[in-house]
Symmetry: C2
Subunit: 158 residues, 2 copies
DNA sequence: TTGATATATATAGCCAGGCTATGTATAGTT
DNA sequence: AACTATACATAGCCTGGCTATATATATCAA
Protein backbone atom coordinates (compact mmCIF):
# COMPACT_ATOMS: atom_id res chain seq x y z
CA UNK A 1 0.00 0.00 0.00
CA UNK A 2 2.91 2.29 0.50
CA UNK A 3 3.67 2.04 -3.17
CA UNK A 4 0.14 3.03 -4.05
CA UNK A 5 -0.42 5.98 -1.77
CA UNK A 6 2.79 6.82 0.03
CA UNK A 7 1.76 10.41 0.63
CA UNK A 8 -1.50 9.36 2.23
CA UNK A 9 0.20 7.44 5.01
CA UNK A 10 2.81 10.12 5.51
CA UNK A 11 0.25 12.87 5.71
CA UNK A 12 -1.76 10.82 8.17
CA UNK A 13 1.27 10.27 10.36
CA UNK A 14 2.08 13.97 10.35
CA UNK A 15 -1.50 14.81 11.28
CA UNK A 16 -1.45 12.23 14.04
CA UNK A 17 1.69 13.69 15.51
CA UNK A 18 0.24 17.16 15.36
CA UNK A 19 -2.96 16.07 17.10
CA UNK A 20 -0.95 14.17 19.68
CA UNK A 21 0.99 17.28 20.57
CA UNK A 22 -2.11 19.35 20.98
CA UNK A 23 -3.82 16.67 23.04
CA UNK A 24 -0.84 16.41 25.35
CA UNK A 25 -0.93 20.14 25.97
CA UNK A 26 -4.66 20.10 26.47
CA UNK A 27 -4.39 17.31 29.00
CA UNK A 28 -1.86 19.17 31.06
CA UNK A 29 -3.98 22.29 31.22
CA UNK A 30 -7.21 20.41 31.72
CA UNK A 31 -5.83 18.37 34.60
CA UNK A 32 -5.05 21.61 36.39
CA UNK A 33 -1.84 20.04 37.53
CA UNK A 34 1.63 21.49 37.46
CA UNK A 35 3.22 18.08 37.03
CA UNK A 36 4.70 17.75 33.60
CA UNK A 37 4.17 15.26 30.83
CA UNK A 38 7.58 13.67 31.36
CA UNK A 39 6.61 12.57 34.84
CA UNK A 40 3.39 10.93 33.72
CA UNK A 41 5.15 9.24 30.86
CA UNK A 42 7.67 7.76 33.24
CA UNK A 43 5.10 6.61 35.76
CA UNK A 44 3.01 5.13 32.95
CA UNK A 45 5.90 3.05 31.70
CA UNK A 46 6.57 1.79 35.21
CA UNK A 47 2.93 0.95 35.77
CA UNK A 48 2.70 -1.10 32.61
CA UNK A 49 6.15 -2.67 32.68
CA UNK A 50 6.99 -3.09 36.36
CA UNK A 51 10.39 -2.38 37.95
CA UNK A 52 12.82 -1.25 35.28
CA UNK A 53 16.41 -0.16 35.16
CA UNK A 54 17.01 3.50 34.52
CA UNK A 55 18.44 3.07 31.06
CA UNK A 56 15.54 0.98 29.85
CA UNK A 57 13.16 3.46 31.39
CA UNK A 58 14.80 6.27 29.45
CA UNK A 59 14.53 4.26 26.26
CA UNK A 60 10.89 3.35 26.76
CA UNK A 61 9.97 6.90 27.71
CA UNK A 62 11.93 8.33 24.83
CA UNK A 63 14.42 10.54 26.63
CA UNK A 64 18.18 10.53 27.04
CA UNK A 65 19.61 8.77 30.05
CA UNK A 66 20.68 11.89 31.97
CA UNK A 67 17.20 13.30 31.52
CA UNK A 68 15.75 10.20 33.10
CA UNK A 69 18.22 10.45 35.98
CA UNK A 70 16.76 13.87 36.73
CA UNK A 71 13.16 12.78 36.43
CA UNK A 72 13.69 9.76 38.63
CA UNK A 73 15.46 11.90 41.22
CA UNK A 74 12.36 14.05 41.48
CA UNK A 75 10.06 11.05 41.68
CA UNK A 76 12.16 9.44 44.40
CA UNK A 77 12.11 12.65 46.38
CA UNK A 78 8.32 12.71 46.24
CA UNK A 79 8.10 9.04 47.17
CA UNK A 80 6.35 8.00 43.98
CA UNK A 81 9.14 5.70 42.93
CA UNK A 82 11.86 3.82 44.74
CA UNK A 83 15.21 2.34 43.84
CA UNK A 84 15.65 -1.35 44.49
CA UNK A 85 19.18 -2.70 44.49
CA UNK A 86 20.02 -5.29 41.87
CA UNK A 87 22.17 -7.90 43.53
CA UNK A 88 23.29 -9.29 40.21
CA UNK A 89 24.67 -5.99 38.92
CA UNK A 90 25.83 -3.34 41.32
CA UNK A 91 25.97 -0.63 38.68
CA UNK A 92 22.23 -0.85 38.47
CA UNK A 93 19.15 -0.38 40.58
CA UNK A 94 15.63 -1.12 39.50
CA UNK A 95 13.19 1.75 39.51
CA UNK A 96 9.88 0.63 40.97
CA UNK A 97 6.56 2.38 41.31
CA UNK A 98 5.50 2.78 44.94
CA UNK A 99 1.90 2.43 46.06
CA UNK A 100 1.81 6.21 46.35
CA UNK A 101 3.11 6.60 42.81
CA UNK A 102 0.56 4.16 41.50
CA UNK A 103 -2.21 6.08 43.23
CA UNK A 104 -0.97 9.43 41.98
CA UNK A 105 -0.90 8.18 38.42
CA UNK A 106 -4.39 6.74 38.65
CA UNK A 107 -5.68 9.97 40.10
CA UNK A 108 -4.10 11.93 37.31
CA UNK A 109 -5.72 9.73 34.68
CA UNK A 110 -9.06 10.19 36.39
CA UNK A 111 -8.63 13.95 36.56
CA UNK A 112 -7.64 14.25 32.93
CA UNK A 113 -10.50 12.05 31.82
CA UNK A 114 -12.97 13.94 33.95
CA UNK A 115 -11.80 17.26 32.55
CA UNK A 116 -11.98 16.14 28.93
CA UNK A 117 -15.13 14.09 29.08
CA UNK A 118 -17.39 17.06 28.28
CA UNK A 119 -15.66 17.47 24.93
CA UNK A 120 -16.00 13.77 24.11
CA UNK A 121 -19.34 13.03 25.67
CA UNK A 122 -21.35 13.28 22.48
CA UNK A 123 -19.57 10.39 20.77
CA UNK A 124 -21.77 7.52 19.67
CA UNK A 125 -20.82 3.99 20.71
CA UNK A 126 -19.73 3.34 17.14
CA UNK A 127 -17.46 6.37 17.15
CA UNK A 128 -15.98 5.28 20.44
CA UNK A 129 -15.22 1.92 18.89
CA UNK A 130 -13.53 3.61 15.96
CA UNK A 131 -11.29 5.59 18.27
CA UNK A 132 -10.49 2.57 20.37
CA UNK A 133 -9.63 0.53 17.28
CA UNK A 134 -7.35 3.27 15.99
CA UNK A 135 -5.68 3.50 19.38
CA UNK A 136 -4.98 -0.21 19.41
CA UNK A 137 -3.41 0.08 15.98
CA UNK A 138 -1.23 3.01 16.91
CA UNK A 139 -0.06 2.04 20.37
CA UNK A 140 2.17 -0.92 19.51
CA UNK A 141 3.67 1.02 16.62
CA UNK A 142 4.67 3.85 18.92
CA UNK A 143 6.37 1.37 21.22
CA UNK A 144 8.11 -0.19 18.26
CA UNK A 145 9.26 3.23 17.09
CA UNK A 146 10.83 3.97 20.45
CA UNK A 147 12.70 0.69 20.44
CA UNK A 148 13.97 1.13 16.91
CA UNK A 149 15.15 4.64 17.61
CA UNK A 150 17.28 3.53 20.51
CA UNK A 151 19.41 1.02 18.65
CA UNK A 152 19.80 2.36 15.12
CA UNK A 153 23.57 2.02 15.17
CA UNK A 154 23.42 -1.73 15.19
CA UNK A 155 21.64 -1.70 11.85
CA UNK A 156 24.44 0.28 10.30
CA UNK A 157 27.07 -2.05 11.70
CA UNK A 158 25.33 -5.23 10.61
CA UNK B 1 -23.83 6.79 26.31
CA UNK B 2 -22.08 8.44 29.19
CA UNK B 3 -24.76 7.12 31.49
CA UNK B 4 -24.29 3.60 30.20
CA UNK B 5 -20.53 3.28 30.25
CA UNK B 6 -18.99 6.36 31.80
CA UNK B 7 -15.80 4.54 32.70
CA UNK B 8 -15.35 3.35 29.15
CA UNK B 9 -15.15 6.82 27.71
CA UNK B 10 -12.97 8.05 30.55
CA UNK B 11 -10.57 5.16 30.23
CA UNK B 12 -10.38 5.72 26.51
CA UNK B 13 -9.60 9.40 26.98
CA UNK B 14 -6.87 8.59 29.47
CA UNK B 15 -5.36 6.05 27.08
CA UNK B 16 -5.54 8.53 24.23
CA UNK B 17 -3.71 11.15 26.24
CA UNK B 18 -1.07 8.64 27.22
CA UNK B 19 -0.54 7.55 23.62
CA UNK B 20 -0.46 11.17 22.49
CA UNK B 21 2.32 11.94 24.90
CA UNK B 22 4.41 9.02 23.77
CA UNK B 23 3.82 9.82 20.12
CA UNK B 24 4.89 13.41 20.64
CA UNK B 25 8.13 12.28 22.22
CA UNK B 26 8.69 9.72 19.51
CA UNK B 27 8.20 12.32 16.82
CA UNK B 28 10.75 14.63 18.32
CA UNK B 29 13.38 11.94 18.50
CA UNK B 30 12.51 10.46 15.14
CA UNK B 31 12.72 13.80 13.36
CA UNK B 32 16.29 14.11 14.58
CA UNK B 33 15.61 17.74 15.22
CA UNK B 34 16.37 19.77 18.31
CA UNK B 35 13.41 22.05 17.75
CA UNK B 36 10.82 21.49 20.43
CA UNK B 37 7.18 20.58 20.29
CA UNK B 38 6.08 24.05 21.35
CA UNK B 39 7.57 25.56 18.22
CA UNK B 40 5.86 23.13 15.89
CA UNK B 41 2.58 23.60 17.69
CA UNK B 42 2.81 27.35 17.22
CA UNK B 43 3.76 27.16 13.56
CA UNK B 44 0.97 24.65 12.96
CA UNK B 45 -1.62 26.97 14.41
CA UNK B 46 -0.36 29.81 12.25
CA UNK B 47 -0.36 27.66 9.15
CA UNK B 48 -3.94 26.60 9.62
CA UNK B 49 -5.34 29.86 10.98
CA UNK B 50 -3.32 32.60 9.29
CA UNK B 51 -2.02 35.75 11.00
CA UNK B 52 -3.05 35.76 14.62
CA UNK B 53 -2.57 38.02 17.60
CA UNK B 54 -0.26 36.75 20.28
CA UNK B 55 -2.94 36.16 22.87
CA UNK B 56 -5.10 34.12 20.54
CA UNK B 57 -2.04 32.18 19.49
CA UNK B 58 -1.30 31.35 23.10
CA UNK B 59 -4.87 30.23 23.61
CA UNK B 60 -4.97 28.05 20.49
CA UNK B 61 -1.61 26.53 21.27
CA UNK B 62 -2.53 25.96 24.88
CA UNK B 63 0.12 27.95 26.69
CA UNK B 64 0.10 31.04 28.89
CA UNK B 65 0.60 34.38 27.20
CA UNK B 66 4.13 35.03 28.52
CA UNK B 67 5.16 31.62 27.27
CA UNK B 68 3.96 32.50 23.81
CA UNK B 69 5.84 35.80 23.96
CA UNK B 70 9.03 33.80 24.44
CA UNK B 71 8.27 31.31 21.71
CA UNK B 72 7.38 34.02 19.21
CA UNK B 73 10.56 35.91 20.08
CA UNK B 74 12.57 32.88 19.08
CA UNK B 75 10.62 32.36 15.89
CA UNK B 76 11.01 36.00 14.89
CA UNK B 77 14.73 35.79 15.48
CA UNK B 78 14.96 32.82 13.15
CA UNK B 79 12.80 34.52 10.55
CA UNK B 80 10.06 31.91 10.60
CA UNK B 81 7.45 34.35 11.75
CA UNK B 82 6.99 38.11 11.53
CA UNK B 83 5.06 40.73 13.40
CA UNK B 84 2.65 42.81 11.36
CA UNK B 85 1.37 46.00 12.90
CA UNK B 86 -2.34 46.23 13.51
CA UNK B 87 -3.42 49.75 12.62
CA UNK B 88 -6.71 49.35 14.44
CA UNK B 89 -5.13 48.47 17.77
CA UNK B 90 -1.64 49.59 18.64
CA UNK B 91 -1.33 47.29 21.61
CA UNK B 92 -1.37 44.41 19.19
CA UNK B 93 0.57 43.03 16.28
CA UNK B 94 -0.43 40.09 14.20
CA UNK B 95 1.93 37.14 14.14
CA UNK B 96 2.27 35.81 10.61
CA UNK B 97 4.06 32.78 9.22
CA UNK B 98 6.81 33.74 6.76
CA UNK B 99 7.53 31.74 3.63
CA UNK B 100 10.58 30.40 5.42
CA UNK B 101 8.49 29.37 8.40
CA UNK B 102 5.97 27.66 6.17
CA UNK B 103 8.75 25.74 4.46
CA UNK B 104 10.37 24.75 7.73
CA UNK B 105 7.11 23.40 9.06
CA UNK B 106 6.43 21.41 5.91
CA UNK B 107 9.92 19.98 6.00
CA UNK B 108 9.48 18.98 9.59
CA UNK B 109 6.23 17.18 8.82
CA UNK B 110 7.91 15.37 5.97
CA UNK B 111 10.85 14.35 8.16
CA UNK B 112 8.65 13.07 10.95
CA UNK B 113 6.47 11.15 8.54
CA UNK B 114 9.47 9.67 6.77
CA UNK B 115 11.00 8.57 10.05
CA UNK B 116 7.82 6.95 11.34
CA UNK B 117 6.59 5.41 8.12
CA UNK B 118 8.50 2.15 8.67
CA UNK B 119 6.53 1.53 11.84
CA UNK B 120 3.19 2.24 10.12
CA UNK B 121 3.88 0.82 6.71
CA UNK B 122 2.15 -2.50 7.29
CA UNK B 123 -1.27 -0.96 7.85
CA UNK B 124 -3.99 -2.12 5.51
CA UNK B 125 -6.07 0.49 3.68
CA UNK B 126 -8.96 -0.32 5.99
CA UNK B 127 -6.82 0.25 9.07
CA UNK B 128 -5.62 3.52 7.64
CA UNK B 129 -9.22 4.57 7.20
CA UNK B 130 -9.96 3.66 10.80
CA UNK B 131 -7.12 5.82 12.03
CA UNK B 132 -8.12 8.68 9.79
CA UNK B 133 -11.73 8.47 10.96
CA UNK B 134 -10.66 8.48 14.59
CA UNK B 135 -8.41 11.45 13.96
CA UNK B 136 -11.26 13.42 12.41
CA UNK B 137 -13.36 12.68 15.46
CA UNK B 138 -10.70 13.72 17.92
CA UNK B 139 -9.28 16.81 16.27
CA UNK B 140 -12.24 19.16 16.60
CA UNK B 141 -12.75 18.05 20.18
CA UNK B 142 -9.19 18.94 21.07
CA UNK B 143 -9.70 22.39 19.60
CA UNK B 144 -12.93 22.75 21.52
CA UNK B 145 -11.19 21.71 24.71
CA UNK B 146 -8.55 24.40 24.27
CA UNK B 147 -11.18 27.05 23.74
CA UNK B 148 -13.23 26.00 26.73
CA UNK B 149 -10.19 25.95 28.96
CA UNK B 150 -9.33 29.51 28.15
CA UNK B 151 -12.61 31.07 29.20
CA UNK B 152 -13.89 28.96 32.09
CA UNK B 153 -14.48 31.97 34.29
CA UNK B 154 -17.32 33.19 32.16
CA UNK B 155 -19.27 30.03 32.88
CA UNK B 156 -18.98 30.62 36.58
CA UNK B 157 -20.10 34.22 36.25
CA UNK B 158 -23.06 33.41 34.00
C1' DT C 1 -11.44 65.93 27.51
C1' DT C 2 -9.94 63.94 31.30
C1' DG C 3 -9.85 60.29 34.70
C1' DA C 4 -10.86 55.53 35.68
C1' DT C 5 -11.06 50.99 34.12
C1' DA C 6 -10.14 47.30 31.00
C1' DT C 7 -7.35 44.92 27.73
C1' DA C 8 -2.99 43.19 25.28
C1' DT C 9 1.41 42.38 25.60
C1' DA C 10 6.08 42.61 27.76
C1' DT C 11 9.27 41.77 31.57
C1' DA C 12 11.17 39.44 35.59
C1' DG C 13 12.23 35.53 37.89
C1' DC C 14 11.71 31.03 39.03
C1' DC C 15 11.65 25.72 38.07
C1' DA C 16 11.51 21.38 35.21
C1' DG C 17 12.70 18.90 31.15
C1' DG C 18 15.77 18.35 27.45
C1' DC C 19 20.31 17.81 25.44
C1' DT C 20 25.67 16.80 24.94
C1' DA C 21 29.96 15.95 27.03
C1' DT C 22 32.21 13.81 30.45
C1' DG C 23 33.27 11.41 34.92
C1' DT C 24 32.97 7.18 37.81
C1' DA C 25 32.09 2.70 39.21
C1' DT C 26 31.13 -2.00 38.28
C1' DA C 27 31.22 -6.02 34.81
C1' DG C 28 33.25 -8.66 31.65
C1' DT C 29 37.30 -10.38 28.87
C1' DT C 30 41.82 -11.89 27.76
C1' DA D 1 45.86 -7.97 36.35
C1' DA D 2 44.87 -4.90 32.84
C1' DC D 3 41.81 -3.44 29.34
C1' DT D 4 37.43 -2.71 27.43
C1' DA D 5 32.60 -2.19 27.80
C1' DT D 6 28.57 -0.97 30.20
C1' DA D 7 25.36 1.69 33.34
C1' DC D 8 24.65 5.44 35.56
C1' DA D 9 25.79 10.18 37.64
C1' DT D 10 27.33 14.92 37.17
C1' DA D 11 28.08 19.39 34.98
C1' DG D 12 26.48 22.91 32.31
C1' DC D 13 23.71 24.82 29.03
C1' DC D 14 19.15 26.07 26.60
C1' DT D 15 14.08 26.14 25.97
C1' DG D 16 9.43 25.85 27.63
C1' DG D 17 6.46 26.50 31.27
C1' DC D 18 4.40 29.08 35.00
C1' DT D 19 2.92 33.31 38.18
C1' DA D 20 3.30 38.00 39.36
C1' DT D 21 3.73 42.32 37.76
C1' DA D 22 4.72 46.39 34.77
C1' DT D 23 3.57 49.08 30.68
C1' DA D 24 1.09 50.77 26.93
C1' DT D 25 -3.02 51.39 24.46
C1' DA D 26 -8.30 51.38 24.28
C1' DT D 27 -12.53 52.32 26.04
C1' DC D 28 -15.98 54.34 28.78
C1' DA D 29 -18.06 57.76 31.96
C1' DA D 30 -18.61 62.19 33.77
Amino acid sequence: MSTDQPDTVRALIADLVQAGGRLTRLARRASGDATTAATWRTLSVLQSSGPTRLGELAQASGVAQPTMTKIVAGLVERGEVERVADEADHRVSLIALTDAGDAVLNQWRARVAEALVPAFDDLTPGQIDTIRSALELIRPRIARGHQELTAPIRKVID
